[in-house]
Symmetry: D2
Subunit: 368 residues, 4 copies
């Protein structure tokens, strides 16, 4: 059972509410003698941090992470690693208005129906604040995967407006406020988001994440498929409504011929795939090609336009959400998606190694 734990051998347990004293996580299963300090984690938290541009919530959270266990003299010891971030900017007063009313499209109502109460302060446990710990855990997952596995992500669509893949430039991603790989789209999005912000509205988005250097063989039939675990991991990010791998939903329109990723041998004995419709996963097991996944984030449900709702007492009301919110929560989901993919891959790497210690690191034939 895993209400708040993610993974099996590489296990992440998070805790904390948006406006509690702190948030944290315990990362268990990390192999010993991996160099690790806060400096390996902090840059990823800084990438995710709100308040960095006018397009994300202005909440100011330094989000300084501390390692409280599992590391000695800058090396992991094999025991659980506890990470801790104090919540500094809590401003609970902003949220009094939503104490007894449920934002349409938000978890407010379902927490109330499930638990008979909820921590209304800043969304409590349902707040995107929890994702800071995913990003921190993802930084440790990257260390477990090693430098050969490279994870990165980009925003490929905001409000229905997609990037032009012919203009894709990974270097561009770090240059704009949207993790956008297409500078032309980035310019359009800036205008769209300024308008949405002014209107008190919000926009949806699609994120693409990619992992290169992943060994073949990760994932296992039938209920530990790598793609199934990636899908669960990404769908579990706040506000996500869809996930696809490789060609994804576009595969509906393909023929069997069009979908086939043909193979040729390289002189060095490696298998070369001539395309990657599969997104790096066949039969739930990694092929060694880049793993490519996309997920969609719905528009933020906290908006300034009044919406019809109900309250805890069972009365019809209207609700307007004031306070600091993201016009496009999808932007901040980019590093979270990367982190979740890293955690899934680290978990599967350990699982694969347990059962198949002599499996090759690259797609090589003959296998033995």
């Amino acid at each position: 059972m895993s209400h708040n734990t993610f993974g099996h051998l590489f296990r992440v347990t998070t805790w904390g509410e948006s406006h509690g004293p702190a948030i944290g996580c315990v990362v268990d299963g990390v192999p010993p003698r991996i160099p690790l300090t806060e400096a390996d984690i902090q840059p990823f938290l800084d990438r995710r941090r709100p308040g960095q541009s006018k397009f994300v919530t202005q909440r100011q959270e330094p989000d300084v992470v501390r390692i409280l266990s599992g590391v000695m003299d800058g090396m992991t010891t094999g025991t659980p690693i506890a990470l801790h971030i104090d919540n500094e900017d809590q401003r609970s007063r902003d949220y009094g208005e939503i104490k007894d009313r449920f934002r349409p499209g938000h978890a407010d109502i379902t927490y109330e129906l499930k638990y008979g109460m909820r921590d209304y302060r800043g969304g409590g446990r349902s707040s995107a604040r929890e994702t800071a710990m995913r990003v921190a855990a993802g930084a440790i997952a990257r260390k477990v995967l090693g430098a050969g596995v490279v994870l990165r992500g980009a925003l490929v669509n905001i409000g229905g407006d997609a990037v032009d893949r012919n203009h894709w430039d990974w270097a561009e991603v770090e240059r704009n406020a949207f993790w956008c790989p297409d500078p032309v789209a980035a310019a359009r999005w800036e205008a769209m988001l300024l308008e949405a912000r002014k209107a008190g509205s919000s926009l949806g988005a699609i994120i693409e994440i990619e992992a290169t250097g992943v060994p073949p063989g990760l994932g296992a039939p039938i209920y530990a498929k790598l793609d199934a675990d990636i899908a669960g991991a990404l769908m579990g990010i706040n506000a996500v409504k869809g996930v696809e791998i490789g060609d994804g939903f576009a595969a509906a329109a393909l023929s069997g011929e069009g979908n086939a990723d043909e193979m040729r041998m390289e002189p060095d004995g490696r298998v070369r795939f001539e395309s990657n419709h599969a997104g790096g996963i066949l039969g739930g097991i990694s092929t060694g090609q880049p793993i490519v996944a996309r997920f969609v984030v719905k528009p933020t449900s906290s908006i300034l336009t009044p919406r019809r709702s109900v309250d805890r007492a069972g009365r019809d009301v209207e609700i307007v959400t004031k306070g600091r919110h993201d016009p496009c929560v999808g932007i901040r989901a980019v590093p979270v998606g990367e982190a979740m993919l890293a955690c899934v891959l680290a978990d599967h790497l350990l699982r694969h190694r347990a059962q198949n210690p002599d499996a090759p690191d690259v797609a090589r034939l003959p296998r033995n």
Copy 2:
């Protein structure tokens, strides 16, 4: 860990290869004193069974299920229920050709890279044959959910050609060979599939599944979200490349206002949602509205057109797949998707009940 086990409190462990002597599963966690006989399971297997029309593989499998444990005098006892289906029509000779060659787009190559060997007979463990046990387990999950929860599915797109939702008629689904809710689309698809079949090609498809009568409160933050578990369950079905809940990828193009499912009180104290963009799930927890999910199945990788590939010895080869195969494997995925959704819901119902025994069965306010 769960290589071949699905679920936590309602747990399904499957075993068996396409061309082994039998396939089976163990369903653990079923509450006691639920009436159950083979007659509750067989009809769902019959719906999934190949050989029923010219549009699915002509392999003839009676697929007669036997209950070997966990039931006495037609009632569950609370102990594990073992289900068993003998494999009767194994014809291993058909598959000699693919013994040493890897079908592009198929799990052949990844099993080889992971395990250093594979059961090539009919796809072995990676065959869709395993899904018969999911369908059987799903029939038991329906009994756990009770008659108030209704699960059904439909094919909504083949080869890029979608149904017209204005023509949607659930009764139609049982009348054609495609689980198609739109009779006009069904006619078009028949032509498309005959052509694909003649060309030795295959087509992708999109399936939509729905559950009504689901109590609110199923699912739990943060890593046992109902939608995350549904996404993992559906992505884990053979050949699936994408999953979405409610509006899914279309949510990228929505505004916050457009995405809000507004609420009003009914006179009887129930919450009425005025739309269902969320697909019945908010914050990973069911709202009590219908749960709506879609998933895409890529075109069958076993096709008659020669494709470039490699063999076990590391040589470039061509491959053509003969034998009996589905021109659109997505058709048979409809009952499998329903079954997986049933299993996820049964699992979450038990989990929810453990922690929240006094939670209401419908979305009612005030909660207490």
Copy 3:
């Protein structure tokens, strides 16, 4: 959750009732390319089988095991291995008497209180029949551990009468009906059991099991300690009421000096322990010394002497158990204990390997 599943990476799920059509198990997580046929499993089942001497139940069960999946051409494939044994000698008529009455000291009453019903035929799921599948799974676990790990067990006490450890001879264990390592004790026990049998009574017993060749490092802090998992595994065998490791309860009377297993270096760099009070486990992790565990099996609760009890309707009754039963169920527990230890070790070997792939196979210093 694991009602009927044991282990994490090496996972055993059993099913079946004493008088159902069959019993079986699914063994998941077995590495690929291990030679395995029914002939590797059957001898262990034959050792456990009832009906072999006059001191165990006369039920005649050939217990012929079949492998239904996960093996191809005599090699494991990495997919789940299903084992199946038909129940042939079911004689349900013997058990009509206990249909509505609860044997004191038996699971009859607790199944009734938990589930509101029970499969009374031969004890149903609570019957020792289920342990046949543990023995079968244990045979596979031995293959995973490899020939270097040797597991064996002996009965060291029946009815309070202990073996003399000065007479201990492992070869003797296979020569008598009691797995007794002391031929003098074996002769005494024969007389005791004949008397108990004649009196319709039963006796308790203590079993000792040992594993040599276990690599150091198996087990993990804090809640996956090797000794904790062994204790759970052995206490979970039918009728077991106590478990101890190494000196066990005798450690209460030791001083710190007396309990210390002092160490010296061997010329080849191995650590030699000069004693083994710890039973091969320190801090929950194996030392590389022999693992030694003992467990106590209470006397069979099915006896011919009338006992005071109650019935399903809530009335005071007397009960006498007729039918075939073991005067000392502890005898048959020896191969079951060995099997459970094998399963725990196989599970921990895979877990250890996942997190510590470069750990040494013997206790060697310096470690790096």
Copy 4:
């Protein structure tokens, strides 16, 4: 997998080293709307705390617990509860001597062999310090169980010297430094421990714990037996070498008649057991009688007498452990044993409720 997580539905994940900045745990699965504050937890920590008498280590740890999440306005919210205790008195300088040498009978050597390094400061993760979080989690488990379930423990044997059960007085347990229920034995033990302390030696001990008011039906066949989980939980406490339930190892000397817990009906429809050889558990399921378990704690391995050992470099050495240590670590294990039993029972209560929501709270017949 559960390296550092205990339980399934009531889940406890602990982290922290003896001499790190803090220790903590995350308790997940707690039902919502249970009143909870630090004041519910602190008294149990105070009972366990070292430094309270001359018979336990003089390390001074105020051990002030803070709740960092999962509670709002004094009520649990259903989300994970993080507990945190700062380590204040770390004095690492005491432990320099054992940095490179392994204490015989201690986890030093096995951590080194497993991980290739270890946190030698105060025992790191293997220190009994971690048990403070078990006690804290146990306090929450008691709240989940409710006031009807009463857990208590006593020391029944030190150094081979047992209490006289005819003198048993639960009230006495709180009056002496040993949790001893027999004032005469307590006086003897005081002398024994003073002598052991003076000699720089240590003594073993046996603890008995009891839970009354436990509903029948907790535990599930076959691998989630209540007694198996209790055995694993108690064996997992530091330095424990044996566990028994009810009559335990004494059952070896019983006859079937002597072991039978006969039953009679009470006028109110309850089943009355006329004895409790079983210790409240039959077939792995609670009967409703008091649950009685015992476990043995070996003598502390840190002693002042020189012992032969080896060092990290693989050289023969002698070792003497200075610093603050318990002459009988078993004394402090009493509240830890109670806490572990509470955690197991809370976990099983939730599991039982999930599958059997209508099961009775007392042993009542007829069941329906």
